[in-house]
């Protein structure tokens, strides 16, 4: 008789169950600041994986993530902010009447955010993916900046530089009913989305599409002569990655409660790139771990900005020190750990085979 689940799948299911139960427990026990940090970790897992799909697995060096996140975030915000709040937001220029009463349940709004980002990803990817390497990096970076500039200028839709405030925070009524405590944020949505993303990534990479992506990364010419349609697969990887980025952006918007165009600068893309690089290009497990570590480190280093009591003296508060320390750590890691951090899983496998021979 054929087993319904093989060992690997059983393991995955058990892990998922543990993660979900863990999230519920965290949601009920932690204070709101810690919940926010956990939430950010989950969001960065999604974003890291989506960038890893494009950059790590398919080998397309794209720097346009912030743009797709912006599209997802604004879509979710516009679809969930209640009409009265929208009117308060748009005090400089009134909102387009068609958008005023547009409202959706959160889950559909999130899906729409992903879909919008995917549509833009497709439209941008189709022409740009003909470029390679640095040119692709700069073109995608350019598009992400263009998206930002357009958002600043389309005041009747996006409220321009003022941004959107009052994105509703979601309480989960079902769980509130079960335990008698109303969870404060939408941690569970992010958790479910992150787990789904991990699953999709694993399945995708095991399947034929994933193999094609990796083949393109290793050698485009060889992949093409094996009959892989380069362009189709590149656009597909880019579009799926944009979808995930849009979902991540949407979740980020809800977690923050307010968004504005300055949030989606290149620095945001850089944070995600950092997670991908530290976790290993083309490494799912590594990305998940590094998303958690980097996010917690970013929060944990916050004490550096305030005055520090050294026992014998107190240093003056130095705003900005945290980011300096963070950039320094990053530089040191990149320069001194270059060999084992940047090894892709594929290269590790190849090294293992080479040893066996």
């Amino acid at each position: 008789m054929k087993k319904i689940l093989d060992r690997n799948q059983t393991k995955q299911l058990i892990l998922t169950a543990i993660a979900l139960v863990g999230l519920v427990v965290l949601n009920l026990t932690l204070d709101s600041y810690k919940i926010r940090v956990v939430n950010l970790c989950l969001i960065y897992i999604i974003l890291g994986l989506s960038m890893n799909l494009i950059n790590g697995f398919t080998g397309l060096f794209s720097l346009g993530h912030a743009g797709f996140m912006a599209i997802g975030a604004y879509t979710v915000a516009l679809l969930t902010i209640p009409p009265e709040m929208k009117e308060m937001n748009f005090y400089m220029k009134p909102i387009l009447p068609a958008l005023l009463n547009l409202n959706m349940p959160f889950i559909f709004a999130l899906l729409m955010g992903g879909i919008m980002a995917a549509i833009f990803g497709f439209l941008i990817g189709a022409p740009v993916l003909k470029l390679t390497d640095d040119y692709l990096a700069i073109a995608t970076l350019g598009f992400s900046e263009i998206i930002r500039v357009v958002i600043i200028n389309m005041q009747t839709i996006t409220n321009g530089a003022l941004g959107l405030k009052g994105i509703p925070q979601h309480t989960n009524d079902a769980i509130a009913g079960l335990f008698g405590v109303a969870p404060k944020t939408n941690l569970l949505w992010a958790g479910v989305a992150a787990i789904l993303t991990i699953f999709v990534m694993i399945r995708l990479m095991e399947g034929s599409y994933g193999k094609a992506f990796k083949a393109i990364r290793e050698d485009e010419v060889a992949a093409r002569s094996m009959g892989i349609n380069l362009f189709r697969h590149k656009v597909m990887s880019f579009t799926i990655g944009s979808f995930m980025a849009g979902v991540g952006g949407g979740l980020l918007a809800v977690s923050l409660g307010t968004i504005d165009p300055t949030l989606f600068k290149f620095a945001l893309t850089f944070n995600i790139l950092l997670i991908v690089v530290l976790g290993g290009m083309g490494n799912i497990k590594g990305t998940v771990i590094s998303a958690i570590v980097v996010t917690i480190a970013m929060e944990g280093l916050r004490f550096l900005d305030a005055a520090i009591n050294l026992g014998f003296m107190t240093t003056p508060a130095l705003p900005g020190l945290r980011m300096v320390v963070f950039s320094l750590i990053l530089m040191i890691v990149i320069i001194f750990k270059k060999d084992n951090i940047f090894l892709t899983t594929y290269m590790k496998v190849r090294a293992r085979y080479a040893k066996n021979q």
Binding site: P127, V128, Y135, L141, I146, V149, S327, M331, D339
Partner: protein, 297 residues
């Protein structure tokens, strides 16, 4: 639009274009030799402007000497940056060194916020440069005339270095074929250091002149010009110095003329260069003056 107004925009566009050209040269030279987008270049530009600010505000040195000294100091700083952040990674995959460049850029920006403070500083403009000329009904700030002249002089100097000196010849050899050049006994480290010095020197001059034209210094002031000048280098064909200059002028003039002729699009000023970049990349992927690359298997 009257002819006077047009001339005024032309002068402004030319001076902005010269600034872009100065910064773009640094990008294109580094890329030509190391195949590296030096993301920190825009922040070196910022550094040049700040060093000048402190030199003029806190030392009794005459302003023209401060200008020269700061450009040299910034040039040396560029060399140090290369030694610390890029040299250890020279044999690593290209994406690694690019990420190191992005990291260096963020480090410089954050250091800028920490050391110089996040609040904008007013650049002390020397009195000679702050006057305006009126020629035939066109009133022009002296800076806008001085900038293109300095740019042209520096370009002549650069062309001389690259075409006539031994180091220049070594630079050309390195950008043609890195490995063959190193086999021919060229001291690669020295040439790369020199390239970074020149690039950072020119970026600092760009930063100082930028300060005299737009006298507000911020630690993040280098980000946008940095990106735009990289675009200028790509438009002109990256690795090609003439191309970078042409790209810089196209971008500077285009930006000013866009605002002049279509004032409703002023908000899209920053998007203009990116749109131009994407159009050029799609039509002629190696830029206007770039050489055709063949696919190697």
């Amino acid at each position: 639009m009257s002819i006077q107004e047009f001339m005024q925009h032309l002068v402004n566009g030319t001076s902005l274009g010269s600034l872009y050209a100065l910064i773009a040269i640094g990008y294109t030279m580094v890329y030509g030799i190391l195949r590296l987008i030096n993301f920190a270049h825009g922040d070196i530009f910022m550094l040049g402007a700040y060093i000048t600010y402190y030199g003029i505000a806190y030392t009794p040195i005459p302003w023209w000497l401060v200008f020269i000294l700061s450009a040299v100091i910034t040039g040396v700083f560029g060399m140090v940056l290369e030694k610390l952040a890029y040299k250890p990674l020279r044999s690593a995959p290209r994406i690694t060194i690019m990420i190191s460049a992005i990291g260096a850029s963020f480090l410089l920006q954050n250091l800028g916020v920490l050391v110089f403070g996040g609040r904008p500083k007013a650049f002390p403009i020397p009195e000679v440069l702050s006057k305006t000329l009126v020629v035939g009904g066109v009133s022009v700030a002296i800076v806008s005339v001085v900038i293109p002249i300095i740019t042209i002089l520096l370009l002549m100097g650069l062309t001389f270095i690259i075409q006539k000196t031994k180091t220049g010849m070594a630079m050309r050899a390195l950008s043609k074929d890195y490995e063959a050049a190193s086999l021919m006994g060229i001291d690669i480290n020295r040439v790369i250091s020199f390239t970074f010095f020149i690039g950072s020197f020119l970026a600092a001059v760009g930063g100082i002149l930028w300060g005299t034209k737009y006298p507000q210094l911020m630690p993040l002031m280098g980000v946008m010009p940095g990106l735009k000048c990289f675009i200028a280098a790509v438009i002109g064909g990256i690795g090609n110095i003439t191309g970078a200059v042409i790209g810089g002028f196209i971008l500077g003039l285009g930006e000013i003329m866009l605002i002049a002729f279509l004032p409703t699009l002023t908000g899209y000023r920053d998007a203009f260069s990116f749109i131009l970049l994407i159009v050029i990349l799609l039509v002629k992927p190696t830029g206007l003056m770039g050489e055709k690359m063949t696919e190697k298997v």
